[in-house]
Point group: C2
Chain length 468, copies 2
């Protein structure tokens, strides 16, 4: 209880301190109030006296009460098409779980390549890869599809967290899955929900549109290398005791037998999946908005009764994300309309003007990456740091294209550092197969490898693509 009061004090304090500082020359009072409320909201969604989305809701309300932003504009985020893209994708992910299609895909890959432990891991990573191509809900992917299967298989090898048998299989598997999950988050615009916010912020502050295909093409080369190197590193330095997993294949066989042929719902979902992803990838040709594509997919699932309307309305997590993102997107947009970001970037750039841009970009990217130790969500990290870091780096002279990609991907990769870095982290960690020490050690080593891959191979690939 006392703890709660301290949290509220920190949140209110952070806002009040800024509000009480006189605004810099040329910054209007309302813009400054907006900044104070924005920062209090970000602090609130980190400290969490109430859950993150509730804090954002409160931020929106305070903004409207203060009249720093009129109510009509304070609610505008809830009509934002990127926010609706996320909501739509959460609804689609419901279908993945409900029809059991995700489950089936995982089983098929296990049957195919699950004979060795590393293959078993990869069969789940490949499933996650396919899912990440259109399900941004990491909670649904890992909690709803990957983890239940991973646990069942681990159980068949009597590897359990509670009786000292975790190292047999579970520790390795959970570590590998989470580290790959983070790479997959970076690989797709739909890798996790706040990538859509990154797209939005980047478009507003640099004019670059990281659409679905651009995001994926730029990521795939360093991503594939990371997806090969990181699991091998874990396998080499933290090997599982069980290295062959024929039981997993047997398990997949019998489960698939039980499932039988593809159901009508699964077939329809597969069709919708194919159409939606195909249309997303080909946006440059037909120009249909990606949100419209996703909404049309849901419409098909509703009309064919693959999805039930009540299911969607009861998707508590989807609504939380909706309130959260709608508020944050609005605040970031409103803040971007003020002159505060430019003034800030100009000031910092002037102070560090004698640094060459590669050095400046390198330093800034590193600070940006390791700052994630302080964040419990990619969203909070992105909202707090992306825009100022982007503006400063560009002001110093770094190529906008290179900066944008590096920050976008680092925002995701950095979530691998801790056991609270992004939504599924506490889920994987909470199972108890991995000690915190192991988790953080792997996270740190993986972070170094990822940074090395994405700055060298990544930069070269982006140079080749003409980004800088």
């Amino acid at each position: 209880m006392r703890n709660k009061w301290v949290k509220w004090l920190i949140v209110l304090g952070s806002g009040l301190v800024i509000a009480l500082i006189p605004p810099p020359e040329g910054v209007p009072r309302e813009a400054w109030t907006l900044l104070a409320i924005f920062i209090a909201t970000i602090v609130g969604s980190i400290v969490q006296p109430l859950t993150g989305s509730a804090m954002v809701f409160l931020g929106v309300v305070v903004l409207a009460i203060s009249r720093a932003v009129p109510i009509e504009r304070a609610l505008s985020g809830y009509a934002d098409k990127y926010v609706w893209l996320v909501l739509a994708a959460f609804f689609i992910s419901r279908a993945m779980i409900k029809t059991g299609l995700g489950h089936r895909i995982a089983l098929i890959f296990i049957r195919l390549i699950g004979r060795k432990t590393i293959g078993l891991g990869y069969s789940l990573v490949i499933t996650d890869f396919i899912l990440a191509s259109f399900v941004p809900s990491t909670g649904a992917r890992s909690g709803g599809i990957i983890l239940p299967i991973a646990r069942s298989v681990t159980e068949t090898y009597d590897s359990r967290p509670e009786d000292g048998t975790a190292e047999r299989l579970g520790t390795f598997l959970m570590t590998m899955l989470y580290q790959c999950e983070v790479i997959l988050c970076a690989t797709f615009l739909t890798g996790q929900a706040s990538n859509v916010i990154i797209r939005n912020l980047v478009a507003e502050n640099s004019g670059i549109d990281l659409n679905y295909s651009i995001w994926f093409v730029s990521a795939i080369v360093p991503s594939l290398i990371s997806l090969i190197v990181i699991p091998l590193m874990i396998y080499r330095f933290f090997p599982p005791e069980v290295r062959e997993t024929p039981n997993a294949v047997a398990f997949a066989h019998s489960e698939l037998e039980k499932l039988g042929a593809l159901s009508r719902a699964e077939k329809i979902l597969l069709g919708v999946f194919a159409i939606v992803v195909a249309l997303w990838i080909t946006t440059i040709w037909h120009g249909i908005d990606s949100t419209v594509i996703a909404l049309a997919g849901i419409a098909i699932l509703l009309v064919t009764r693959v999805l039930d309307w009540r299911d969607l309305m009861a998707e508590t997590n989807a609504w939380e994300v909706f309130i959260w993102y709608g508020g944050l997107v609005m605040m970031a947009g409103e803040l971007g309309k003020t002159n505060i970001p430019t003034i800030f970037a100009g000031t910092v750039a002037a102070a560090t003007g004698n640094l060459s841009w590669p050095l400046a970009l390198g330093l800034i990217a590193l600070v940006f990456f390791y700052a994630h130790y302080a964040f419990a969500s990619i969203t909070a990290h992105v909202m707090a740091m992306l825009v100022p870091f982007l503006l400063v780096t560009v002001a110093i002279g770094a190529p906008a294209g290179l900066t944008v990609l590096m920050l976008a991907y680092f925002a995701n990769l950095s979530a691998g550092l801790t056991h609270y870095g992004t939504t599924p982290a506490p889920v994987y960690f909470g199972l108890g197969y991995v000690t915190q020490k192991r988790w953080w050690t792997v996270g740190l080593i993986a972070s170094i490898i990822n940074i090395a891959i994405w700055t060298t191979v990544g930069s070269a690939w982006w140079k080749f693509l003409g980004w800088w």
Copy 2:
């Protein structure tokens, strides 16, 4: 299943027929497509191959796919402050049920005036009156608060639907409660959710702002008369067998004893209730937006933990209404921007130009009222008929103020006609205390009385207030 196909055919057919008619001179193609989709959506929310809000969602999606309205504007209803007012009020109603405050209010009134059957009825109506002043969710009011108590009391008199004892008490009570509920719907802007849509449509098409206090002041005189006359009519012509209900008072006594003193949560809610309603009533003086006031109320309830954030996110009904209204408000707004309503009103007015306006208004109001036999929701009724009827009547020369009030109140009162007229109707009817014949007979008689009161006393009162 076959039934479903017929329903889809009707919905698609209604849209296609309009889309295939060439648009009248001067109406752009997109505006005409918008009209076709709008009408298909309204038909869909009446015929319901899927539930109403799902049909509206589909309408929004089809609109965006057809590019009749671009996606940015197609989603704009979800940032509409009136839509958020409804959402906010649904959230507040959660607190009424959760804290038990609504329950307690009802018990207090029963203890006070529940000794006779008619007093018992009124004690629940007064509770509903208080609730309607800020809880627009008729489902929450009747299903969550009024009905559970009404049923408990009815049970203590061994009046049950199944064993021929319904007439003893239940039939009278349920009939009276529902007919009064409908009058209360008309009495407050927060009487039921689509009043907010009425406000919106009226403002856009006549420039008149039916805000909270204007709505209430204009309604209260005819409303009080209806609230006296209708129950007496029912009591006179369809009397209960039990005319004294001391058991109800005893029940209220013991229940209140069990409840004990006001809890902390109830006190806070009472405070929020008082502040919100006071601020709503005094809007003309301080100018704070009514949505901001409601959102601030929720913020207080969240911070004080009277409401739990997860409760709100799990409020399935609130989200359904949100999707429903956000879509409809957007469609009505977009349609209002086209020249279709003016052309339509001009054509009809020209054809009936020789009618005097009182006759025209009378006829139109009657058609508007009894058209509700065809509607299963006030929202659908309002969306389909309010704007054209309003425009035509005004074009014929009727005073806008008078027309607006009459249509606004009739839209609510007409819901008393059937056992499917508005959300709580099937709830009350479904208990089985009242036969359909009785329900419809009472509904018809009440409709005549209501029309008589609201056109005579109502018109005089509105003349006195300067509306015409």
